[in-house]
Symmetry: C2
């Protein structure tokens, strides 16, 4: 479907096609964007000329004139570690089926980078912007609100939100895995999280922590002993920190890790030291990295439907863009408790879905 005549001469324009057919440029424009408004014979001749000349609309001109870019901007923290890959794929799949393009940026978990990326997107007249999380630079939120650009925040539906949101409650997630560990009969829980500074920047992680702690509290257990890893995306380093922590706190019977990377790292290091899992120690992770099923024993975790989040985010955006102003909405896609071998089984069977 690329134009058949990619000669070195400049690309054909609307006017070229119009001249070739003997109609006005406007008619050609209509034949392309609202075919029904052009008489069939005219349209056929136009489409033939389009094909023959290899005409491809210059979107920059269209965007300039109509202020509609058919670009959606997306910002995720990272594409490493397979955390957000599925989500971006979901967005991409939906957009490309609808004639939109995705401009993608990775913020590296930096609010400053996110802001720069959004600024660039606005300079490109992006029709909509999809962000990750609900924590943004202080200037960005009022700016986006005031700009009127439709915005979707993904992976978190906690308040305050900018506009639309697709995700789940990270508090609920932490609470659910906490309740599960309690239901398994664990009584001395430990917690491996990022540093306090990290949690300041990582609202989602902080919310998970709060949810977990709430679950422990409501069970009447002592507050979990807690250790911080310097980099929650460093599997090996985190595993060593967590295992040293357990060595110093042998009374702990189960460890919750802030994410699956830390969880897998901990599992490995524990096994390297000869500890039987889950006999000596239960280990669980939370969400994101889709690696919990690969290790042995499998890591009990909460699975997040990343692809679905991306898909719904894009669909919600397109709906807003076509149906005009819809009521602001937040969609909770939930999450799924996945019980695997790294923890013992619950004492009484309970629901594992949500």
């Amino acid at each position: 479907m690329p134009p058949s005549k990619p000669t070195s001469s400049a690309r054909a324009t609307l006017a070229d096609v119009a001249r070739h057919v003997g109609v006005s440029a406007m008619t050609v424009s209509r034949a392309i964007s609202q075919p029904d408004s052009v008489a069939k014979p005219t349209r056929d001749r136009i489409m033939a000329a389009v094909k023959k000349l290899g005409y491809l609309p210059n979107m920059a001109a269209g965007t300039l004139r109509s202020s509609q870019s058919f670009i959606i901007g997306g910002v995720v923290p990272t594409l490493g570690f397979s955390i957000f890959g599925d989500t971006v794929q979901g967005i991409s799949d939906v957009l490309n089926d609808s004639g939109y393009q995705l401009i993608l940026g990775c913020s590296g978990y930096s609010l400053e980078n996110e802001e720069k990326l959004v600024t660039a997107l606005i300079g490109r007249q992006a029709d909509g912007i999809i962000l990750t999380g609900t924590l943004h630079s202080p200037e960005l939120v009022p700016y986006l609100r005031g700009s009127g650009i439709p915005t979707v925040e993904m992976w978190d539906i906690s308040e305050p939100r900018i506009d639309m949101a697709v995700g789940f409650s990270n508090f609920d997630l932490g609470q659910e895995i906490g309740r599960h560990l309690v239901a398994c009969g664990y009584r001395r829980l430990g917690y491996v999280s990022g540093t306090p500074e990290h949690e300041k920047r990582e609202k989602r992680a902080a919310a998970r922590s709060r949810g977990f702690l709430a679950a422990v509290r409501e069970a009447g257990l002592a507050p979990p002993a807690r250790v911080s890893v310097p980099d929650p995306l460093d599997m090996e380093g985190s595993g060593v920190v967590a295992a040293d922590f357990i060595a110093a706190h042998p009374e702990i019977d189960a460890l919750l890790c802030i994410n699956e990377i830390v969880g897998v790292g901990t599992l490995y290091e524990a096994q390297r030291r000869g500890w039987k899992i889950p006999q000596k120690l239960g280990i669980a992770g939370m969400g994101d990295a889709n690696i919990a099923h690969l290790v042995h024993p499998g890591l009990t975790t909460i699975h997040i439907p990343g692809y679905k989040i991306g898909q719904l985010s894009a669909e919600m955006m397109l709906a807003r863009l076509s149906h005009g102003r819809v009521k602001k909405r937040a969609v909770d896609v939930g999450f799924e408790l996945v019980i695997r071998g790294s923890t013992r089984l619950p004492e009484k069977a309970g629901p594992a879905k949500r």
Copy 2:
């Protein structure tokens, strides 16, 4: 850094800034894009006004006038399975540091989709296009060559190429893992690949196969028994097929799998059937998915430096874009044999890097 005045009124334009400062629009344009060509005092007043008015250039207008979009298009087969995530991250990191934006598309391994995405990118005046692999629709290659748009092909440097390339030889990759298995003393090799139809569409996979077969041949061994899995991205299904294959061919002492997903699936299913790995059977994978280190025993594989490929691809693109026409180049980033527990050790120590 977003404009400080995101009022509901229309965004400020160059002319607004010019009026505010009392200079011509052209001077403002220069102050922004070639600051040195504007007198310091003038420039300072202009920048102050830019900030005050929250002026953000409309890239659509700039692109229309100058035919320079500062957009690079990128197409990868998928963002699932963490195969190309690092690569896209590498591209994104480099581009965003240089004022470029990435329009990303996922082709789903379909040449037709790839072509559509590229067509859209050209309609957006993309300054450059980064594709995955060297297999494209028959129309696309001459079209891109004729268009003069700088193109980088990633993950494969085999001929024929469109323009620039960053990757490695998939033939060499298959050959290297094949030679390694031979060096380990394996004599009855088996091979788990995609279907013949799959290999027709998947040139890179086919090249790996040829490399592997060449290694076996040069060692004077019998051609490997071969089995096809319907979907090489389906871990469980592939594992079952591979294990059934081994059950029917008990003489095979080592199995090479077309990718790490199939490799891990095979390892799992083998263990599920109670087979000791690597005692009963050596298992190895090839490249891509970055999951080989997670399983136990670790999967011997060839690691591909995905992030580096993305980084170099973007850098090469930017170099071409600024230095003008450079000689067409292909960069071989190589790959790395990673020996893990799923195969026995080589009989004589050999080099493991390349």
